[in-house]
């Protein structure tokens, strides 16, 4: 009871009120900072995405060269031409096939593709975010 009455009395005596435009001014400042941050991230992710795209081109060229040099296509065509030979030596065939794969190049490609997708998603999100603020 005493607590309730005190609560009412204390609330009634709040006299330290800010200027009425203070919330608006704070919101405006945050919007400016938000916009600046969004723009910075937009550029960052766009740059990362483009660099990854360029890197992917080089990696793709390298991977295709490695494929042609490693004899991977010969192993694959062998699988279609003489399946009985493959069945009898399936272990060694699979090992040779795996050995001929340009693993590092493929791994790089997958990582770069992932980075491009993540960057694209972030760019799209930041762009819509900026539109919302504007």
């Amino acid at each position: 009871m005493e607590q309730q009455e005190l609560g009412h009395s204390f609330k009634a005596c709040i006299k330290n009120c800010p200027k009425s435009d203070l919330p608006e001014s704070i919101w405006h400042t945050i919007c400016i900072k938000e916009s600046r941050r969004a723009r910075g991230q937009l550029w960052l992710f766009a740059s990362v995405g483009m660099l990854s795209g360029a890197g992917l081109v080089f990696v793709a060229i390298d991977v295709s060269t490695q494929f042609s040099q490693s004899g991977f296509s010969e192993y694959v065509s062998l699988a279609f031409s003489d399946s009985s030979l493959i069945v009898s030596h399936v272990d060694s065939f699979l090992l040779s096939l795996a050995d001929s794969l340009p693993v590092t190049g493929l791994l790089f490609s997958v990582v770069l593709i992932l980075i491009i997708f993540i960057s694209l998603r972030k760019v799209a999100r930041r762009y819509t975010h900026q539109l919302q603020i504007a």
Binding site: E2, L6, N16, C17, P18, S25, W27, I30
Partner: protein, 183 residues
């Protein structure tokens, strides 16, 4: 229906920009009222703005399931004010933490510290404002947060980084002083 703070934060994280605006509108007055006691009316708006900027920067780290927004926000406000006062080499919150009151204080009940006569006089808001200003700052802070912001002792303790019993002790002693000043 008014949305809770936690719902607004979830909405903001989900992409609703206006949710943060609602929180700013809701708490600017409370934060200003809190800050003005420590830094004065000229600096208080800057403290409020700084607090909200920190809230905005860290809102993604805030766990709505584990903490109350109000407590978290007042903790940020307290730290912001402490940083400002430290930079100014003025008093800091720890200077205000006079650890008076031990076990004896903590076991005394807070109820009925103010007799009816004192309660009646406290209804006069001008008188109460004046008396409140004359109270030591750490008492003012506890009373303000408890009665004006409806925070619990535990929440005040977290926000001011003080043990629960110290907050309770400050509250009781503040009421005792209030009674002495009124009667």
């Amino acid at each position: 229906m008014p949305e809770s703070d936690e719902e607004l934060i979830t909405a903001y994280i989900g992409g609703n920009q206006q949710a943060l605006k609602v929180l700013i509108d809701r708490y600017t007055g409370a934060l200003y009222n809190f800050s003005v006691r420590f830094v004065g009316a000229t600096i208080a708006p800057d403290m409020v703005q700084e607090t909200f900027i920190k809230v905005w920067k860290n809102i993604y780290k805030f766990d709505v399931e584990r903490a109350h927004f109000k407590t978290w926000m007042f903790t940020i406000a307290r730290n912001t004010i402490t940083d400002y006062l430290r930079k100014k080499k003025s008093m800091v919150f720890s200077d205000l933490d006079t650890e008076e009151g031990g076990l004896f204080d903590e076991t005394i009940q807070d109820t009925d510290i103010l007799p009816d006569e004192a309660m009646q006089k406290i209804q006069d808001k001008e008188l109460l404002s004046k008396i409140l200003e004359d109270l030591p700052l750490h008492y003012q802070t506890v009373l303000t947060l408890y009665y004006q912001e409806d925070m619990t002792f535990a929440e005040i303790g977290k926000a001011l980084n003080k043990p629960l019993n110290t907050v309770k002790s400050h509250h009781r002693r503040a009421l005792e002083q209030l009674r002495k000043m009124v009667l």
